[in-house]
Symmetry: C2
Subunit: 305 residues, 2 copies
């Protein structure tokens, strides 16, 4: 089960009734926080997402509306008695910028394990501090600064078949090892592999998160067949298209086209301009482009299984 | 008339129902913002304080709960079409720290005019971008980093007496000049000074703002006979005294003693610990120490005249 909560849906600046766009993804009791703008720690409290479960902070890019909450968030984590290192994945240049931001924080009671990601296509890594089966892929997107889109592939173990294990006389204490993917050698010398005691593979759960970019086809490749695609849509008014091209953002319609191209199950729109008071007024047009479009609200949640 | 709004009353971290401590002081349509922690720009919107009127940002010290909202605040000011320079007064070291924080902001459409204040007693300066009659005094207080308390002395012009002006044949077009403090020379060569056409002095309006410090007597000297004294009180529980000494903060009781010593008109307590859920439970004890104590709430306002 992957629990996703979109903590805020705003772009540029936090509003009285709209937090800045960030996302909390929990899996097996451990969580990833994607971006951390001003107020994200309060949005987490409002949405009842557990700060103490965050093991990975993942940053799309270093514009203030996505990262200015980092100092407060890390200090509050420290006040939660955290001593274990926190893993941070972010575009190249992250160490210097985070170091700059932390000049107002004093010493934290835990270490930051910062991984700078390259601006290369098809960068894949395993988020070991969440789960050895969680593969994250990053894609450089087209913004005014280094910015990454991410796809989370929660790969799931094949279903364990106890009858098969028994038929090979595998002792109970080794079932877990085998299910985890390791082969074992029994006392009689026979080697048992995972595929011998499981029933095929299970579909991964895939979540893709893209914000602050011009639309382009590789985004749909990254998001291909996602269970959930979270994507920016700054405006619903097509008259804003030129402005979006200039500012390197996209319209809600662009996101819907990408969702359709990527054959995703569900699209959550987010990162609305403060000038767009009511994103829902474009609902009809957007649903015509991609029918499973959700015009997200702050605190929107889903459990994917 | 000086309008004061305490935007938040929290210390350390913003809570769902308590913004971080900061203060908005408006005088003749221009405003000072004191400190700017995470969420202060939203607190301003909630309290209906006008961001566009802020001409001075004044910082007590560079701990995250007092300054991490600066990048977002300045960007939002820029989005309000500001092009005029913004004056910033802050403890020595400010330029480097603000430069660090602004690494996530790109170029602002206005300049920052940063004045680093020394950690000396009795530093006084005129906040010309607010009013040539506004004198600010800073006092180094006892925190873990350079931290300043401030006293705002809104000096007021003496009352203009039209009859006196007429008796000297001062033309109407020069009344404003004379009232502003400049002398004039009439056609007949006679020199007229301000005191010749006014009726004595009016009491200044004085506001003092002190937070994040151990209590000590010079704070009461700074606050002496203030119309309003805004002071931190992290806890009301006297058992926290040792912890406060260690962390260089003060209890609500300490603030009340200082208010009494300083003979201020009104004390507003603020900067409550997130662990102090209901500051009002200490009201009786606090009022016994200083009867005009207000246990402030977010958005608390007063007009001083």
């Amino acid at each position: 089960m992957v629990d996703v909560c979109l903590l805020g849906t705003g772009g540029m600046m936090p509003l009285k009734n709209r937090w800045l766009t960030s996302c909390y993804i929990e899996y097996n009791g451990k969580a990833i926080l994607i971006d951390c703008g001003e107020g994200t720690q309060i949005a987490m409290a409002e949405a009842e997402c557990k700060m103490s479960r965050v093991e990975v902070l993942l940053i799309t890019h270093f514009h203030a509306d996505h990262v200015s909450g980092i100092p407060g968030f890390l200090l509050s984590l420290g006040n939660c008695s955290r001593v274990e290192p926190l893993t941070i994945y972010a575009p190249v240049g992250a160490k210097k910028i985070i170091d700059n931001l932390m000049c107002i924080c004093g010493a934290l009671p835990f270490k930051l394990d910062i991984h700078e990601l390259p601006m290369d296509k098809n960068t894949k890594f395993i988020a070991t501090s969440i789960d050895s089966m969680l593969e994250i892929e990053s894609l450089p997107v087209r913004h005014r600064v280094n910015c990454l889109g991410y796809s989370f592939n929660f790969r799931r173990k094949p279903v364990f078949n106890p009858d098969k294990a028994k038929s090979f006389n595998v002792p109970l204490r080794l079932w877990r090892v085998l299910h985890g993917g390791e082969s074992i050698t029994l006392d009689d010398g026979s080697v048992i592999t995972t595929d011998m005691v499981t029933d095929g593979s299970r579909k991964s759960i895939k979540v893709t998160y893209v914000t602050d970019t011009l639309p382009f086809d590789e985004i749909a490749e990254l998001a291909f067949r996602s269970d959930l695609f979270i994507c920016e849509g700054m405006y619903g008014d097509e008259l804003q298209k030129d402005s979006m091209n200039e500012k390197h953002h996209m319209l809600m319609q662009d996101a819907c086209y990408l969702a359709s191209l990527a054959s995703v199950d569900i699209l959550w729109l987010t990162h609305y301009s403060p000038a767009m008071i009511n994103p829902n007024e474009y609902a009809k047009e957007l649903l015509n482009i991609f029918e499973n479009t959700i015009i997200s609200k702050d605190g929107q949640k889903i459990s994917l299984s």
